[in-house]
């Protein structure tokens, strides 16, 4: 009985993976199709849509903007994430639940509401919409992910190592730099990569808060209105897909290394 069940579960698991991947696979397929209309049977193989990409100045500008926004958002949200994750995993204090609840709140708010509320405040204060305002919004939505990744990295971290360092005469900052930081470095790198990827892909907030300088998703959104531009968008999407895949694989490897390092630290202690 339970063997039959588990066999069906295995079948289901593979069907589920097919369901998850099927739509994504059409992007690369149609991005090398000669016909501009995405339909089967395929017309023929071409790389012309890829060749045209670097010849589009607006696209290059958008890519550059996304890179800047992504880097700033990743660094800022990781720094703020380190503060929060460290506070939550290291100290017991009153207001811990409330504070971390508020920090995680952007995860369960419709993004459009975050976007319009930031828009109202920014315009009411008389500030200009720019890449900077996009960064502010992106940091807000990246922090919950950073905190989750970093919490996992900081938890199970052996405090006695820090105490030993303090007993041996290191200052608090010295202990952090020479004991804590090397242990949690993989989690930090993983947080940077994850938040960069989120920022790179984020559309709604960038759509509302970007002024004249747009990010890649906002550029893509503009292109989607023109059926003829679709293959170019698919080619760009394929490149982004490969890029995110590499970044995330790297983040995953880092996360695993962090776990192993902490387990090893525990074993030594």
């Amino acid at each position: 009985m339970s063997r039959i069940l588990s066999r069906w579960l295995t079948v289901y698991a593979f069907l589920y993976i097919v369901f998850l991947y099927l739509p994504v696979i059409f992007l690369p397929i149609f991005s090398v199709n000669t016909s501009a209309v995405p339909q089967f049977p395929l017309a023929g193989f071409t790389s012309k849509w890829y060749v045209e990409l670097p010849k589009t100045p607006a696209l290059l500008d958008a890519a550059w903007n996304s890179l800047i926004v992504g880097l700033c958002a990743a660094v800022l949200s990781t720094i703020l994430g380190i503060c929060a994750a460290r506070a939550v995993t290291r100290y017991r204090f009153r207001g811990r639940t409330v504070a971390s609840g508020l920090i995680m709140a952007p995860l369960v708010l419709p993004e459009i509401i975050l976007a319009v509320s930031l828009l109202i405040v920014i315009l009411s204060l008389g500030l200009q919409l720019s890449l900077f305002t996009v960064i502010l919004g992106h940091v807000l939505i990246c922090i919950p992910y950073s905190v989750t990744v970093l919490n996992a990295g900081f938890e199970g971290f052996d405090r006695s190592l820090e105490e030993a360092s303090a007993d041996l005469g290191e200052t608090a900052f010295g202990t952090f730099r020479r004991v804590t930081l090397p242990m949690v470095a993989p989690a930090i790198i993983s947080s940077l990569l994850v938040s960069f990827t989120i920022s790179l892909d984020e559309f709604i907030i960038a759509f509302f808060l970007a002024g004249t300088e747009v990010t890649l998703p906002v550029y893509i959104w503009g292109q989607l209105r023109f059926a003829a531009r679709l293959p170019g968008v698919l080619a760009l999407g394929t490149l982004l897909l490969v890029g995110s895949f590499i970044l995330l694989s790297f983040a995953e490897i880092m996360r695993r290394r962090a776990q192993r390092r902490i387990q090893m630290g525990g074993a030594i202690a």
């Binding site: 739509p23 709140a105 319009v116 807000l140």
Partner: protein, 305 residues
């Protein structure tokens, strides 16, 4: 302070030291979390409060009239268009969250109980599509469901239909399918985490006491994983209610959701107070819906036990 500690006995010195230690732990914790907390306070709480304030005001061209009024709420709740959009958004987000959880539970179960050494690889494989561009994932559903799309050409190739069907794209179901796909990973993860916490000895006990696999699942595993199911439902339901991209790309006229109305008020329509009222209503209604679902599930869980 040192002098005071010396004067009193050893016991009270100990108490004082513990007191300062606790106080400093309290202070250090708060000091450390405060930058992040303040960031969320300034960029999340304050703006949401500003939105709530705007929802009680009115706008005349470019100037905001700050006299308190419920006029925006009257418009938002009585105009049929807003009522329909809100009802449809709630229906879509509810359906999508239930669907994703139903589809995600078996896979989370499979990974947790049969994943063996490859659990984290499975999770990685499931989360990868979620990290690819959201816009393009929605776009690929358009490619699949469209008139010249993959589904139509496939069905025609198989001889199931004679001419392309227009009923796949530009309706509520297209929005539901696309969102269910887009939020799949979000539902798998919390359920997986709660399944991992299930004490396996309880299942052995149930088996020893004569429960079959289905009975022990219904009486042990499922009730113990309800918190995961609840958080999966909420983490899908609340954001999807305000989704903008999917209804715009695959929803057509019949799939428009409330986010489009909010966007119009803030961009072209330039009526911030009405947009604010629509946002507040959306937030409130989805919170109430989420809370009542949590309540119902908890009650049901208690009855099973």
């Amino acid at each position: 302070m040192t002098a005071a500690a010396e004067r009193s006995g050893a016991a009270s010195a100990h108490r004082i030291r513990r007191g300062t230690l606790l106080r400093s732990e309290q202070a250090q914790g708060i000091a450390l979390i405060s930058p992040t907390f303040l960031y969320a306070l300034i960029l999340l709480v304050a703006p949401v409060l500003v939105v709530i304030a705007h929802s009680f005001w009115t706008q005349d061209f470019l100037t905001i009239d700050r006299t308190f009024t419920l006029e925006q709420y009257r418009i938002a709740l009585t105009e049929p268009i807003y009522r329909d959009l809100l009802a449809r958004s709630l229906y879509i987000s509810l359906t999508v969250s239930i669907l994703t959880v139903f589809l995600a539970y078996p896979i989370a179960y499979y990974i947790s109980f049969h994943g063996g050494a490859h659990k984290s690889l499975w999770l990685f494989v499931i989360t990868i599509p979620f990290w690819t561009s959201y816009l393009l994932r929605v776009m690929s559903w358009k490619v699949i469901l469209g008139y010249n799309g993959v589904l139509n050409s496939g069905l025609m190739g198989l001889g199931i239909i004679d001419e392309p069907s227009t009923s796949f794209l530009y309706n509520t179901n297209a929005v539901i399918i696309t969102l269910t796909h887009a939020w799949a990973a979000f539902a798998v993860l919390p359920i997986f985490v709660s399944l991992e916490k299930v004490d396996r000895t309880l299942l052995e006990a149930a088996k020893d006491l004569g429960d079959g696999p289905i009975r022990s699942f219904l009486r042990v595993t499922l009730p113990l994983t309800l918190p995961g199911v609840i958080s999966a439902l909420l983490i899908v339901m609340i954001p999807t209610v305000g989704d903008y991209v999917t209804p715009k790309l695959v929803g057509g006229k019949d799939g428009v959701m409330i986010a489009t109305a909010i966007e119009t008020q803030f961009k072209r329509g330039a009526n911030w107070p009405l947009g604010a009222a629509l946002s507040v209503i959306t937030m409130t209604v989805v919170t109430v819906m989420a809370a009542s679902i949590v309540f119902v599930i908890r009650q049901a869980g208690r009855r099973v036990r």
